[in-house]
Amino acid sequence: MSAQEYAFVVLALVGTIAAVRVVTARNVVRAALYLVVTLASVGACYLVLAAEFVGWVQILIYVGAIVILFLFGLMLTKAPIGREALDNQSRGLAALVGIAILAGLVFLIQKAFTWSDPKVELAQGTSGAVGESIFRSYVLPFEAVSFVLLAALIGAIVLSRKDEPS
């Protein structure tokens, strides 16, 4: 195993354990903070995979913006603390479905790819090429995404505004 693989495995383990804590934590704020750990380690995995632009966007948008939004949402809706209040009764069934999906995916992956054959060669310095690809081949989807973001912003404001007593 190369050094990058060791780094990736460590980061993936940290991210997976933190993700498990996200879905099992009994305190909602703690769940949000574990989500920070997961998202940051996913971002670090992108950096290890040499996708530095996606990595930094992940850290800026997810850790910087989305988690803050979640924390605001948690603060504005006072959530109770405790397992019974946060989880519903069908936890065992949910665990069964999750484990079944994991087993199915692992089976398919190890069936489809031999362990040693496909190796991700790390391309260096992809940021410029990513920008070129966005603004050369994907300009229309890019504009559509910006329009979606604008619509979502206005929609969120309209939804969360208090109605004027007229």
Binding site: A12, V23, T38, C45, L49, A51, T77, L86, E121
Partner: protein, 100 residues
């Protein structure tokens, strides 16, 4: 150099944890967090295959997914706030007005 199955296993683990969270959680904000976990799993796959094939479309789509996820969280939290304001609860199994 990183073996591709490692990347895919990480992604599969995150995805199934997200599925468990969506099914098991009762608080709507926590359900949204689990959806974020699943979106991240998809992004890891996109970036991994993009680096495998030296084809940047995957990374571009990962960026699009991140942008859509941001929009989705904004709208989702606004809806959750509205439900909380109207019904004093954001437990997803108590919000059943449209059921049947």
């Amino acid at each position: 150099m990183i073996r591709l199955p490692l990347v895919l296993f990480f992604s599969a683990a995150l995805f199934s944890i997200g599925v468990y969270g969506v099914l098991a959680r009762r608080n709507a904000v926590l359900v949204l967090m689990s959806i974020e976990l699943m979106l991240n799993a998809v992004n890891i796959n996109l970036v991994g295959f993009s680096q495998l094939w030296k084809e940047l479309t995957g990374q571009v789509f990962a960026l699009f997914v991140i942008a859509i996820a941001a929009a989705e969280v904004g709208i989702g939290l606004a809806i959750v706030l509205l439900i909380y304001r109207n019904r004093e609860t954001i437990n997803v199994n108590e919000v059943n007005l449209l059921k049947w």
